[in-house]
Symmetry: C2
């Protein structure tokens, strides 16, 4: 399948690398292709610059946000949440319309230091903002509740015996994404939380997730819903 | 132990009933004792009026917020979160000072309909507001992430193989509360998330918790942290 992935950092790399490994035709979108190619220093968080990463993932293409949006039959938003709406604007509404957009972004605002706050929360969410801005796109919020490596390989923790969530207005789109989460990435337990307003819940989960990371000393964890 | 519990509704009933059953000397605090005693209709959510409940829990005393605060060597805040600061003001700072206050409340604001929003969130929390208002009280935030019955009986779900959190500035107070959670209620896995600012995380978890309740069709669930 032709897939467009917006974002070149850790989440974009994890998603596009895994999708390419599965045989999909993946193009990653960035704001400025030349700038992305020129950057070679690792990110302060430790993951490689996209240009360095791409050398070992030569089958993953790089283009502008608009190129990736045109390329993809299905799209993944793996940009920083505070920049997602700007990235999607550059992608272009006509290139997005009619497509399924898997939104993985979190609106984490680090501008006031650590811990980050959310740039939108409580009575709204990034998922809803995107859905409102692009009413002809099927937005499905998912994967934003775990660290990048776990998104595409949940078996790295507890034999994948833990839970992922999907939120979105379109029932068929959520069912499709749930199938991909299971077939492509190996998720076993996927809970449909409801319409796109339930993205508030998964985005507002980030503060406890970040504290758990600190308490556990690792990002390699998740919640399992037990009842 | 002499324990004061603020709040007469479902959480206050669950906590005070269990503590009395364990042999503690429990007084529940309310704003207006006569009004609480006069009310006999069940709450719209289905739990009994305090006066009805108390007939089967005659060893649980009822008093004003100030009476309960004076009575308790240890205090539990089981009021509605949007009314907690007002309740604590009525309890009286001098009656609270030097004591450990277990804060279970969530600042859920139903005034704009369902789903509720949080009346404080993102860059602050109810736990922090209480700690700031009463600097000589040791506030420990816990139990606010599960339904009332599970708080005091986690074994009702998955043999208690799931997770509770504690947040607070005082390490010894958190250790004490953790011991009580285990010895009194049967919690097995308690994670210390950090200082009282981590209460933001557990309060902002409420939106996903409410959506999970809807998706699962029951409040009898919890998260287990797996790594």
């Amino acid at each position: 399948m032709k897939i467009g992935v917006f974002g070149t950092s850790m989440v974009g790399q994890a998603i596009s690398g895994k999708l390419a490994e599965l045989g999909h035709d993946v193009m990653v979108g960035t704001r400025d292709v030349a700038a992305t190619q020129a950057k070679t220093e690792p990110h302060p968080y430790g993951f490689p610059a996209f240009s360095v990463w791409q050398k070992e993932h030569a089958n993953v293409k790089l283009g502008t946000f608009a190129d990736a949006a045109k390329h993809g039959e299905v799209l993944f938003n793996a940009t920083n949440g505070t920049g997602s709406l700007a990235a999607l604007k550059l992608a272009g509404e006509s290139n997005l319309n009619g497509k399924l957009l898997v939104d993985i972004a979190n609106p984490l605002d680090f501008s006031h230091g650590n811990p980050p706050s959310l740039s939108v929360s409580n009575t709204d969410s990034l998922g809803e903002q995107i859905q409102r801005a692009y009413p002809n796109v099927n937005v499905v919020k998912t994967l934003n509740t775990v660290t990048a490596f776990l998104m595409v390989n949940p078996g790295l923790v507890a034999n994948a015996d833990h839970t992922m969530f999907v939120c979105g207005n379109d029932v068929a789109a959520k069912a499709q994404v749930t199938e991909w989460l299971k077939d492509w990435f190996g998720w076993k337990d996927v809970i449909d939380l409801g319409d796109i307003t339930s993205a508030r819940g998964t985005e507002m989960y980030l503060p406890i997730w970040l504290r758990l990371w600190g308490a556990l000393g690792t990002g390699m964890f998740n919640v399992k819903i037990v009842k």
